[in-house]
């Protein structure tokens, strides 16, 4: 998901924590601290919701060391250099039984022009393939059609010996900003595992990290009800990021240091899919509004189902809250999402759009992650 969706998911999680903490401690304690004493505890949800990407893109990225760097320029375009380096790294990982990292730098031509090249791992035939593409312009990546190289100069292949596991089977486009890197890990069965941008969605995107960061809540508010609330907001806000990312394809490494590889995502959507982001944000904004209303002393709107069942916030808060929330989701959150979803599906069908294959979706997601997940 885009950074905003993560931030909002963290805030939404925080509002749910506040509702629960409020009910647990009673006397509207936490809500009063927020509304009357102007506590800023909720912001922690947003901050820790976006933090995993901040950690990865602001820190982890720079801590990654590379054994090889492929750095071509426009006057020295050589696809063989790319495939040979990658094949050598795969072989080395297997032979020396250690992790080998390769960085593929972008080819910058001018302030707004870049030479694109693509890398693909053919795991069935044990080959790395590289194709030099056209010069492209800026963030829109418009190709200059006269800049393609002749096929014999643009294409190269190289073989590697060990079996390669590349679960994230995508064509990697190297074009603008900073290029991608790959890690090759030797596996116990003699094969080599390839990881795309290995510093991303590892320890920074883990359940473990959420647990480690949660005590910051006590550092901010002590072992008070607010401190405990902050503890849960930080931990669940952090986890909300991991969960929303997991609906994509790449997945995350959930429990480092106990686990060392990413668990593949649920493959429900791509992380940068506009529809997925819009629906997530729409739901989150509406849920935040609902929760703010729920902890407010004056309820500015009441849901009819709770009224029909004779439930009251003052007498049976939990039942009132759950029934109202269910009613709210069914009345206001689901219908617009379903209508928009079916409208888009109908439009795309009419226009003859086809669904992306897994490989295409992964390629697209990879590009989006590389293009700066939050830039």
């Amino acid at each position: 998901m885009k950074g905003f969706a993560h931030f909002l998911a963290g805030l939404t999680t925080a509002t749910f924590v506040v509702v629960i903490a409020n009910a647990y401690y009673g006397h509207n304690l936490i809500a009063d601290a927020i509304v009357q004493n102007k506590a800023l505890i909720l912001i922690l949800g947003g901050i820790f919701g976006i933090l995993p990407d901040t950690i990865d893109f602001r820190f982890a990225k720079y801590l990654q060391r590379h054994d090889y760097e492929v750095d071509m320029d426009e006057w020295d375009l050589d696809p063989k250099k790319v495939v040979n380096t990658l094949a050598r790294a795969i072989n080395q990982a297997s032979e020396e039984n250690r992790e080998v990292n390769v960085m593929l730098h972008t080819v910058k031509i001018s302030s707004d022009q870049w030479r694109q090249y693509n890398v693909q791992f053919d795991t069935e035939n044990n080959k790395v393939i590289c194709d030099i593409g056209p010069i492209i312009s800026g963030f829109e990546k418009r190709p200059y059609i006269t800049t393609y190289l002749p096929k014999e100069k643009a294409h190269a292949e190289a073989s590697f010996k060990p079996k390669l596991n590349y679960g994230y089977d995508a064509v990697t486009h190297v074009d603008i900003l900073s290029g991608p890197d790959f890690s090759f890990f030797p596996e116990k069965d003699g094969s080599v595992r390839a990881d795309f941008i290995p510093w991303h969605r590892r320890w920074g995107h883990s359940i473990t990290m959420g647990i480690l960061l949660a005590p910051i809540g006590f550092m901010l508010y002590g072992f008070t009800p607010l401190g405990w609330t902050a503890f849960w907001i930080i931990m669940l806000g952090y986890w909300s990021h991991i969960l929303t990312d997991h609906f994509g394809l790449m997945g995350s490494n959930m429990f480092p240091p106990f686990t060392t590889r990413r668990v593949p995502g649920f493959k429900v959507t791509r992380s940068m899919s506009p529809l997925a982001n819009i629906f997530t944000n729409y739901s989150n904004i509406l849920l935040i509004i609902f929760n703010m209303n729920a902890w407010s002393k004056v309820h500015y709107f009441e849901m009819p189902w709770a009224t029909m069942l004779g439930l009251s916030a003052k007498v049976n808060y939990a039942e009132w809250y759950i029934v109202s929330l269910l009613n709210y989701i069914i009345y206001y959150i689901l219908p617009p999402i379903l209508v928009a979803y079916f409208a888009v599906v109908y439009y795309e069908k009419k226009k003859g759009y086809r669904e992306l294959t897994d490989k295409e979706a992964m390629t697209k997601e990879q590009l989006e992650e590389l293009g700066g997940v939050n830039v």
Binding site: K38, L40, T106
Partner: protein, 441 residues
Amino acid sequence: MILSYLLMCILFVLLGTAIGSLLSMLPGLHVYNVIGFFLLFYFTMGGLGMDPMLMVLMLIGMLVSYAFVFTIPSIYFSAPDDSTMFVLMPSQRYLKERKGHEAVVLIATGALIGVMAITIFVPIFMNVLGVIWNIALANMHWIIGAVIAFMLLSEFPKDFGRHKNPLHGLKEGWKTILAGYLTFFLAGLLGVITFSKTLIPAGHAFQSLMAPLIGLFATSSIILNLISKYEIPEQNIPKSIDAKPKDIVHGSVAGSIGGLFAAFIPAVTAGVGGYMSSHAFAQQGDKSFLVSMGASRVVYYVGAIALFFLPTLHLRRGALAMGINLFFTPETVQQFYLVDAGIALAGIISFFIVIYASKFLAKTIPKVNPKTLNIVVLGVLIVLVYIMTSWVGLLIMSVATAIGLVPVLFNSRRSHCLAVILVPIWLNMSGITLAPLLGLW
């Protein structure tokens, strides 16, 4: 309402649109500064003996036309040099690619859709907006705090990945981020000082933000233009614009929602709202972005006025609403619909003004020396700031200009300069008082 009164209303909307369009062509000049000047004149002359509603409609005409016509100077008169191409806004990239007019048409289309959204949807969702406002009001301190946190956490390094070692990488990557934080801190400090202790003459206190804002955004841009080596290339004027309906719809919906968020939440501006909504809608592509820019600006500026007249809200957002509130209190639904109609009329006329002005400029701009133009505008701004805020204002403007140059020179986000408004308002709403610590009280 008699016909002659309606005609007078239309006349004043047209007058405001004409004045606003002319003045908005000048780069760096903000309509709020001009409106401040008009209000000063209006009050000095004892209201000119005219119906206040007519003055309101004229000011609204000025505001709507500004929200449209500002596109012209922002695209044609501010083309930075190639070294900044990497961080250029799509509109500036379009100018460099001889497609300045195309960018204007896309932005104006977004703006027109934004006006339609305001005039149609604000009345429809009148009650919903009222409920949301009531709920959000008590939580505004953390909502604004969250906006600030997002602004600070969502800027990512803009390096090219070539590093000697991790430390060198961190240094390169964090250069832009730290410059952004420095800008935010300094602009926030300037804002706290400006809000806590107005240094400019008491009679002009309502213009206390003029000097900081002109310094942060206008004069710093002009100085960049003056020191940059650039030429404006010959521009193409295509007969039609190649944009998919999907881009237009996506951009205008994202922009309108971002603009409405900015109009609704204190201290949040169109830039911040638009940026957040572009994330929220996962916008991709320059065309969609340009359309959203237009929609977001219009909905922010004009939406604020619509919310001020909205019977269920009467929200005072933005300098125009506050200025109008000095001599006029909205009371009736009729007034709201009159304002709504005025907005629609001014919007449609402004749309055509922008298109024709852009066609004219696209032909003539390569013949104009942009540096001369920038020097003239700088002179106008200095004179204006001096008249409105005295030499103290000029001093504040100089400080703000220096702050405004930091993000420009380090390629970080200029929106950090908005801390000048965001920080003091957020501190105020959170009950945090910094002024005594700074010796301002």
